[in-house]
Amino acid sequence: MDRLGARAAAPDGDVVRAVLAGDAERYAELVQRYRDRYARYAARMLGSPDAAEDAVQDAFIRAYDQLAQCRDPDNFAGWFFLILRNRCFAERRRTKREAVADVSQDELPGPGRADRDAERSETQQLLARGVSELTAEQREVFVLKHVEGLSYGEIAERLGTSVPSLKMRMHRAYDRLREQLRDRA
């Protein structure tokens, strides 16, 4: 999805170098380019679009602060994803001890919450609840593969891990989801 029209043609590396050279306004191009691309990942990891919004905003500001450390400006997207990922994991650690989230408000895309709830099938709601109760690592691989549609190879490249370890994580998630859905059905 290209939200920038002709300006979006500028490669990430050119934009990053321009920002580092002092043209801070061009950072807006990167924000517009990637704000929605990773919003769904953050929303599914954190359980709500509001939390995703906070995480994406914070990740962009952190990325700007650390931009000089982006060793491969042409791969800003991959570098930014890791910053957002760390933010999501930190947020999950922070909220881990808090009361169990009200999953009736989980996995919701924003306005029209009540309408959307009504439309969601029972299985969808059970699955959303089950996914929210996976470990952060299991949830991440489930989201990247089955929500974002990435292959194991693509996930492994993005996270710097191996396909077998991802499969092990995912297969445990499958079993856990089945168990949770059966318990609640």
Binding site: A24, V31, I61, Q69, P109, Y174, L177
Partner: protein, 195 residues
Amino acid sequence: MTDFHPQVKQLLDGELTLADLPAALRPEGVEALRLLAAVDREPVALPSTLDARVLAAVRARAARPSLWRRFLAPREIRVRLRPWTLVPALAAAAALVLFLSSPARTPTASTVTVRFVLFAPDAQQVSLAGTFNQWDPAATPLVRTGSPGVWSATLILPAGQHQYAFVVDGARWVADPGAPAVDDGFGRRNSVLSL
């Protein structure tokens, strides 16, 4: 027993089709596919006000002297030794950070060799997590030095500001008591290193 059969997991992974499964496994396969069909893939759109908030923060930072541009200029490498400081939480753990120019490698004008040292006599393993390694506690282990209880790691870091913490025994995140620290926004303190 609620585990999916391994072949059903292959079905979920997209490596097999329902027709590839033995007849006895097909009901389980159907159940598994029903689970995947319930996955919510609806896009999430963030409000456009997010862009403005990010840009406001960026402009505020850009209006201040830029750390990275200030430190990209050639400069003299300073040696600064921080005194060891007791960490009450670690009961006799202390840390120092030593900045030094590397005799083995020639740092460029925009990199600095930094030696991180932690005194943690009871630790079994110590590592360093920070902005320079994507906060990966497994990326930068410290090694025991010749002095009992003293762990160290030497890194070449780009000039600029870095945040970091020591990770003791894979679980305890400890700020460097000899360095300034900031709240990381998630209830922890990160040490700050300005090069």
